[in-house]
């Protein structure tokens, strides 16, 4: 089945620094989503980006479908960005059931 690897596992930044998160997957993805999970556990969808580049606010996601990878760039990080960032992909051969990576834990210090 689909395997989703995220790196780094954890990241510590000072407020204002940029973050680069990576997601690599084993099979071609028809859908790819980035999520934010707060320390309390709630899941929030950030971006849906199966290919190309998408921006929203301080977030930029770039997915290279042929290379089976996606990145999430967070610019000018803030303490409120702290939490876990999850990547989830759906493969063309599947029943549209996303597979989640283990996430990147981000801590932003003031």
């Amino acid at each position: 089945g689909q395997q989703v690897q995220q790196s780094p596992a954890s990241l510590v930044l000072q407020e204002g620094e940029n973050a680069e998160l990576q997601c690599n997957f084993s099979s071609t993805a028809t859908q790819l989503q980035w999520f934010y999970q707060s320390p309390g556990g709630s899941l929030v969808s950030l971006l849906s980006n199966p290919s190309g580049t998408k921006h929203t606010g301080r977030l930029t996601s770039t997915t290279v479908t042929k290379e089976r990878r996606s990145s999430l760039h967070i610019s000018s990080s803030q303490t409120t960005d702290s939490g876990t960032y999850l990547c989830a992909t759906t493969t063309s051969g599947g029943n549209y059931k996303p597979t989640f990576g283990k996430g990147t834990s981000l801590v932003v210090h003031p």
Binding site: G41, L86, Y96, F100, K102, G103
Partner: protein
Amino acid sequence: GALVYQYPRRTICKSGTSMRMECQAVGFQATSVAWYRQSPQKTFELIALSTVNSAIKYEQNFTQEKFPISHPNLSFSSMTVLNAYLEDRGLYLCGARAGTETLYFGSGTRLTVL
């Protein structure tokens, strides 16, 4: 817009008892609903995928006898955790979609088992 509401947000149950969680789709017809569990220190594992007018498909390690799911219409689904024990604690997430569209996720139900 498309939204998915999940409730309760948090729940506590005694070991050996059961609890039911619900998922409501608003703004679209939920032809498919996926239920996931995130156990402590783990990522989200798919429990089952329910598609209207089709049999509910459970993933390996999850059974209907333990996690019965109801998907009676295009806006609602529920899942029960029967005879919950410590290993069942975690965050349960439902995702719903119309046809082959992107899954929209609820905020999750956090289950604590005492």
